[in-house]
Amino acid sequence: MSNQETETTHVSFRDVKSKYKGIFAWIFSTDHKRVGLLYLYSIVSFFVVGVLLGAAMKLELMSPGKTIMDPQAYNAIFTLHGVIMIFLVVVPGLPAVFGNFFLPIMIGAKDVAFPKLNLLSWWVYVVGALVALSALFAGGGPPDTGWTFYAPYSFKTNTNMLPAVLGAFILGFSSILTGINFIVTIHRLRAPGMSWFRLPLFPWTLYGTAWIQILATPIVGITLLMIVGERLFNIGFFDPALGGDPILYQHLFWIYSHPAVYIMILPAMGVISEIIPTFANKSIFGYKAIVISTLAIAFVGYFVWGHHMFTSGMSGTALYTFSFLTFLVAIPSAIKVFNWVGTLHKASIQLEAPFFWAASFLFVFMIGGLSGLALGALATNVHLHDTAFVVAHFHFIVFGGVGFAFMGAIHYWFPKMWGRMYNTRVATTGWIFFFIGFNTLYLPMFFLGIDGMPRRYYDYVERFHGPNIVSTIGSWVMIAGIIIILVNLIRGAKYGPITTNKNPWGGKTLEWEVDSPPTLENFEEIPVIDRSPYDYR
């Protein structure tokens, strides 16, 4: 068939001979680990672009009036920043990189259920990304609608909406394919003896995520398609001048995009649930509670989309139903936090970089989540909606949650993925800069929001000046942190000391039993499971 790969025992998947040469051996490989790394490299590249756009916004906001760009540029930049960060970075992020790489290994399988489909999903991702980014270059200029593409502004603007929307549509398919693959993999390819309640928590969260991916993504797909239809044929689905209802657009958009935030956070919670027991040398506290809360978040999270529309003019009934459900969905997250902290009780904690990331995840996730409560209550939401407070909330929980988990994951699994080690002291220094910079950057935005500064504001009145300066300075500290971290990881992957120990942290899940880096098919013999995944006795 298409992909002849030669395997000798104990040859790392990176060195396996393939009938393709050079880069083609990667971009045509169906090996789940290579696909995972392809995703890693593409996602990190887009992340750097997104981050630079973020830094540019912060520079602009450092002082009132024009600082470095004009309003059109600012509007385009926050749109691109949002689209890149959401659709290209955090939604695929953890599942596509670490899910692809580790899901099969953690459940004791040789690959995912549909390896070719897996490779296809990466290709679809790349095509979608290119289509979306082509909006930058085609005439009309980059889109300026915000990542929410709200109607009717999104048909009125003269900028290149179509490529951006079509790109997002294509990216949706990539996400769906990954979801289908993971569900089937978990159902069919678990090693003998691995019952559902012996499944490690990262695969569990991927399972919940995958369901949201396949059940929510189509809704945004069709919605974006309707925008395309609207722009091309003037159908009038959401155009009030033709009888359409702009609020209906918001419903459809958030029916996907709210569950999407749980697509982002669930795998992050999974990563944290892996790191914490390993570094605590102790079984996770309340395994079943964490599993159940994962499924509860996935399910209830499907019905709270309206909390993004509290001021849009929905009916009162809808308002309080959504507010109520929003509060319900916060509870499983609370349960998880308590269980993670509970795991540390009477533990024996190794203080290493991955653990610092996990512990600081708890802190920033709490800030993000607890600020979500103020957004979920009706009276307070009315004041805070569409202000800098919301921006602070979601950077804390998206960037704080998913970003910190991503950093934790990469520092945790690094020796397994590359077979080498980074410099641990530098890693901790990078974390300190990042953590301080992060909080300096986003905490002031809470105060700006409470004071009434709306979001998506290119310019602001003088009284918002102070916190904005602090925030901009924070972004520089974070720049320092990110540079330290990236340089350290890249150097580690290239020149770091080769790890001889398969299990440097003392983890109990299956990935620590295979070679570092793993061989083409991970296991010479499929293991038989006879214990819980976190059995530290």
Partner: protein
């Protein structure tokens, strides 16, 4: 992993019967909507469509012979769709 594709060979006749039922239901729904039942029309038409689609799901799509898990999942997806509609209408119905 078991390959249970041999297990249930559905006879042609079953499909024939189901097909005739479906066609009859289609004709009934056309006939029913011809008479004025006011707001009931919508209800009856949707109900008949739901019945028809269950036949398609159960027989043509083999759910009858599939394992419980799959049956439950299919049911769950339809329930999900229904719930999403209900929640959306919490807005429109009470505006």
């Amino acid at each position: 992993m078991e390959n249970n594709n041999e297990s249930h060979i559905v006879p042609y006749k079953t499909y024939g019967i189901i097909l005739s039922v479906l066609i009859v239901l289609t004709l009934i729904s056309v006939a029913v909507t011809r008479i004025e039942l006011a707001s009931l029309t919508v209800f009856v038409a949707i109900l008949l469509a739901a019945v028809k689609s269950s036949f398609v799901l159960i027989y043509f799509m083999h759910l009858k012979f599939d394992n419980k898990l799959l049956k439950a999942l299919v049911a769950a997806v339809f329930i999900l769709i229904a719930l999403v509609m209900v929640v959306t209408f919490l807005d429109y119905n009470y505006r």
